[in-house]
């Protein structure tokens, strides 16, 4: 239907032929007839254009012209493959990194949860920052008080975590992490089953039948999505429960459990301590906002009610604890730990993008200088500034689209890596997948870059004498262009410096953490979890007998240097026992107004200190004679002795726990030994007030430490496990790891931080080096003639070499200074928003500077060498 240009031409030609024929028939001379016909017709291109315009809009033509320009641009870029490849790869790195980080940020921070009406779902947390307790959770009496008084919350859901030994779903008995919940939990959370049903009000209370729901992850990964599990009866420790359903995939919070069971499955939840003790806190609390109630209103009411409860029960709250309630949307609570790190990553990615763009700008600028001749010719032939800009835009569009395509392809593996990384901070990252937003971000960034790049080169001025540019094919570099090239190179160096210094800071922190002395023997000691409460054996003689037998038989194994039961694997169990407990000692008077001192409560068997490499400083170790019925004794850490007894008379004094949990009146225990401090809560050692109790006087441990004599400690794991199973067939033996590996595991988020940042810094460094090398190479090739002249008049090649080298180093130095100044300001600003913001130490800053200067010198080496090897005759003849 739409006529093309050829048809329009044919139509016009047909008209002219008729017109000429008519004139000739009237007797005109053929030549005169043709001229007259043309004159009568009018300006052919304009008329053809007005016919065209009926069918094609101006926009259509503009896009078509741009497409034409892009085809031309593609061809001309194919002739400059090296440059095109550099630009595309640089852009792809910048775009890929940004797109990946952005989709993770979107997935973790912005996407709604699957929970029904998740906007009304809130998480309530009690904390006591005054004694360092981030999350004290709630006790049952506290929850009952809140439930009965608060009206802005339509219903509450409670969740506590216990470990069960699970028997009955095939395979060995295994430890599972289980959530124990009341009947309202799933209703409050707004979750649905994928199979069977979830727990409801009928499953609540001590009289209900045991019922358990499997989490989706457990069902799919451990049970192969077997639908026949519904209705099966399983053993959970001493109780049984029926599997009633499978939960839909959802963010596991507060704990990633395998099953979720009703309270009747956990004897502990039915016990008097759980139900009546206001300080027995182990339950997490969720709520659903009542209709029409805002989060702020609910927060206000909850805080007021909580304050009233605290006033009514002052004995249950630490006076120095600054106990408070925090109310957040569940979504925000889940994303919170990842927020800072993700925003920092986003900033780092943006910096990489800026570096990439300025590098590409450099390359394009250099190229456009080489093309000045071509542009001048086109301008002389009548191309207006618009058309020239369009040519440049077309070319940068080709480059940026290629960069975007490659970047989006790169983003796929990036997203996987970043998501695994972010999963350390927020479980939501596990669900992040590559989504179309990556494409939009990639395309948007590419567009921004393309427009930016098209406006960087200067167009030949229509007023300037074009003769020069037209006649010589040689290169002329204006001071303005040169300055702009240098500015871009300096920007790259400055931003790379910020990233390098940041990465250096993280690396320095990591190295400090990994090499810090811990006070433990790290290499030879294996730690095991041997949870006894899980088997239902509970506290008491049976457990102690099991410990004694296991210790005896493992000690006799070849290659074993020592065995001891404990209660706490350093770092891995951090936070397990909650905040430190208040205690008092005979002969120590607190200064007026000072609260009782607090210490960590630990349980160990004889030889524990020997096995873990903690030296005894005074007194004696526990023995098998420190048992129930004999005198209660404790061993204290050096800090306890020094803080409370500066004169060193701690031995044989009596101490007692003043926390009401330990009974009233509390048992007095004699201090029989002092050991060196070992901080089992923090990898970076701090003073650790710890009080150790003999396992035979408390009755429970749950951790086993085995020191190997030599060789690979892990070689002992199968034998240890077999020996324990021989003693007690249902006993789980889990998470065997040397203390060194435990520390590595605890530090893995730090390691990943350092790793990811080093990656970004590496990319930035690479791009900056390419940038500096490019600028200098360009400047050298533009000054070939100058170098030739200088060599001809007697300059030494060496002199030229150092000249170019120092030019490169100067760019780097200015960049570093700018980066240091900018980075300092940035860090100060960031410190206002992030409490944990740290200034990098001297070492990483200097290190980054040295690396950059070195890289810049290296990058200038090749152009410098070329400058010094200029062939004099050739250089002089070149113009």
């Amino acid at each position: 239907m739409r006529p093309d240009d050829r048809e329009l031409d044919d139509e016009i030609r047909g008209h002219l032929a008729l017109s000429v024929k008519e004139r000739i028939e009237r007797g005109d001379d053929p030549e005169a007839a043709r001229l007259a016909a043309l004159r009568e017709f009018g300006y052919v291109p304009a008329i053809r254009d007005s016919m065209r315009r009926v069918w094609y809009s101006r926009w259509f033509d503009a896009v078509a012209a741009l497409g034409q320009d892009m085809r031309v641009g593609l061809r001309s870029l194919l002739r400059a493959r090296g440059l095109a490849a550099t630009v595309v790869v640089t852009l792809a790195l910048g775009i890929g990194a940004n797109a990946a980080i952005f989709s993770v940020v979107r997935g973790v921070l912005l996407r709604p949860l699957v929970n029904h009406d998740e906007d009304r779902l809130i998480y309530i947390r009690q904390s006591a920052p005054g004694i360092g307790a981030e999350n004290t959770t709630f006790s049952v009496p506290e929850i009952n008080d809140l439930k009965s008084r608060v009206t802005t919350i339509s219903s509450f859901g409670d969740f506590s975590t216990v470990d069960f030994t699970l028997i009955g779903l095939g395979g060995e008995p295994r430890m599972v992490k289980a959530g124990v919940v009341g009947g309202s939990f799933f209703h409050v959370m707004g979750l649905r089953p994928v199979l069977g049903r979830l727990l409801n009000a009928h499953d609540d209370g001590p009289k209900a039948a045991g019922a358990a729901v499997l989490t989706y992850r457990f069902w799919t990964t451990s049970l192969n999505s077997d639908p026949s599990v519904i209705g099966k009866t399983i053993r959970l420790g001493p109780r049984t429960a029926m599997v009633v359903g499978v939960l839909e995939p959802s963010v596991p919070y507060p704990a990633d459990t395998e099953i979720i069971a009703n309270v009747v499955t956990s004897p502990h939840h039915l016990g008097a301590t759980m139900v009546t003790s206001r300080t027995h806190r182990m339950t997490e609390l969720f709520g659903r906002l009542a209709p029409g109630v805002s989060l702020a209103a609910a927060r206000a009411e909850l805080t007021a009610v909580h304050a009233a409860i605290m006033r009514e029960h002052p004995e249950a709250y630490s006076a120095n604890g600054d106990v408070q309630l925090r109310v957040k949307k569940l979504r925000d609570q889940i994303a919170a730990p990842a927020r800072t790190i993700l925003l920092v990553l986003l900033a780092a990615a943006a910096v990489v993008f800026v570096i990439a763009c300025s590098n590409v700008a450099n390359l394009i600028l250099a190229r456009s200088v080489r093309r000045e001749g071509e542009l001048a010719v086109r301008a002389a032939l009548g191309a207006g500034p618009g058309a020239l800009r369009r040519t440049l835009l077309a070319e940068s569009l080709v480059l940026c689209s290629a960069g975007a395509v490659l970047g989006v392809l790169l983003a796929r593996p990036f997203v996987g890596a970043v998501a695994r990384y972010a999963a350390r901070f927020s479980v939501r990252a596990l669900e992040v997948t590559v989504d179309p937003s990556v494409l939009w971000v990639g395309a948007g960034l590419a567009m921004a870059a393309a427009v930016l790049l098209a406006y960087i080169p200067r167009l030949p001025s229509p007023h300037a004498p074009a003769g020069l540019g037209l006649t010589s094919g040689s290169l002329r570099i204006t001071p303005g262009t040169n300055r702009r090239l240098r500015v871009f190179a300096t920007i790259q160096i400055a931003f790379s410096f910020v990233l390098l210094a940041g990465a250096g800071m993280l690396l320095a922190t990591l190295v400090a953490l990994q090499t810090a002395s811990t006070g433990y023997d790290m290499r030879q000691v294996l730690a095991f979890d041997i949870p006894t409460s899980a088997t239902g054996a509970g506290f008491g003689d049976a457990t102690l007998k099991f410990y004694q037998e296991a210790t005896r038989r493992i000690t006799q194994l070849p290659g074993v240097d020592g065995v001891a039961v404990g209660s706490f694997v350093p770092w891995r169990d951090a936070g397990l026992f909650g905040p430190a407990v208040s205690f008092a000692v005979e002969g120590y008077k607190a200064v007026n107004g000072e609260e009782d001192p607090r210490a960590r409560f630990r349980i160990v068997a004889p030889r524990f200190f020997d096995v873990l490499g903690i030296p005894m400083l005074a007194g004696r170790d526990f023995t098998d004679e420190d048992r129930r019925g004999s005198e209660p004794v404790v061993i204290v850490s050096q800090s306890v002795a020094q803080r409370l007894f500066p004169n060193g008379q701690a031995l044989n004094r009596k101490m007692w726990w003043t926390d009401p949990y330990f009974g009233n009146p509390p048992l007095r225990r004699r201090i029989v030994g002092i050991v060196r401090d070992a901080d089992d809560e923090h990898v970076v050692r701090g003073p650790a007030l710890t009080i150790y109790h003999p396992v035979r006087q408390i009755g429970v441990g749950g951790r086993l430490f085995v020191r190997s004599a030599s060789g690979d400690p892990y070689a002992l794991v199968p034998t240890v496990r077999r020996v324990i199973r021989e003693i007690s067939a249902d006993q789980p033996v889990e998470r065997a790891a040397t203390l060194e590996d435990v520390r590595a595991q605890v530090l893995s988020p730090d390691r990943l931080n350092a790793f990811v940042f080093s990656g970004f810094a590496g990319i930035a460094l690479l791009i900056a080096v390419v940038g500096v090398a490019g600028v200098l190479a360009f400047s050298v090739s533009a000054r070939t003639r100058e170098f030739g002249v200088r060599l001809a008049v007697g300059s030494s090649p060496r002199h030229l070499l150092t000249g170019v080298l120092s030019e490169g180093v100067l760019i780097a130095a200015i960049g570093i200074a700018a980066g240091a100044a900018g980075g300092y300001v940035l860090a100060r600003v960031a410190a206002r928003f992030f409490a944990t913001m740290q200034m990098p130490g001297m070492l990483p800053v200097l290190g980054a500077a040295v690396v950059l200067i070195g890289a810049a010198a290296l990058a200038s080496l090749m152009p410098a060498a070329r400058a010094s090897r200029v062939d004099v005759l050739q250089a002089l003849r070149s113009e």
């Binding site: 006529p3 016009i12 047909g14 032929a17 009018g42 008329i47 009926v54």
Partner: protein, 122 residues
């Protein structure tokens, strides 16, 4: 055909070109040159259509579906595009014709009032 002096020639009234083209094509298919000549001849050389107006108008009418076109061979033995009236074009022509006679009437009444009209001027 005698040439008409330029001072005798009339401007084609705005908005009437489409009608003139449609009317011309009522006698059968014709190419652009023929249409232009027909208008000129029919108007006794008083109206002359500029090609710069004629051709865009033809394409506009074709785009609106009032004309169709096909390629043929002209009297000059050259490829030429012949336009033909469609059914929609015929309907449009009759609409325009009505509007035109109303317009002529209305203007005529103003310019040549009836004898019993308003007071005469001196």
């Amino acid at each position: 055909m005698a040439k008409t002096p330029d001072d005798r020639r009339l401007e084609i009234l705005q908005g009437t070109l489409d009608m003139l083209i449609l009317r011309t094509l009522q006698w059968g298919a014709q190419h652009g040159h023929g249409i232009g000549q027909a208008i000129r001849a029919q108007s006794d050389d008083l109206l002359k259509v500029e090609t710069g107006s004629l051709y865009p108008a033809l394409h506009r009418l074709e785009k609106r579906g009032w004309l169709t076109s096909e390629w043929g061979v002209s009297e000059a033995n050259q490829r030429a595009k012949y336009y033909r009236l469609t059914a929609a074009g015929k309907a449009q022509l009759s609409r325009e014709r009505d509007r035109w006679s109303q317009l002529v009437n209305a203007i005529g009444r103003i310019m040549n009032p009836a004898p019993a009209g308003p007071a005469r001027k001196d």
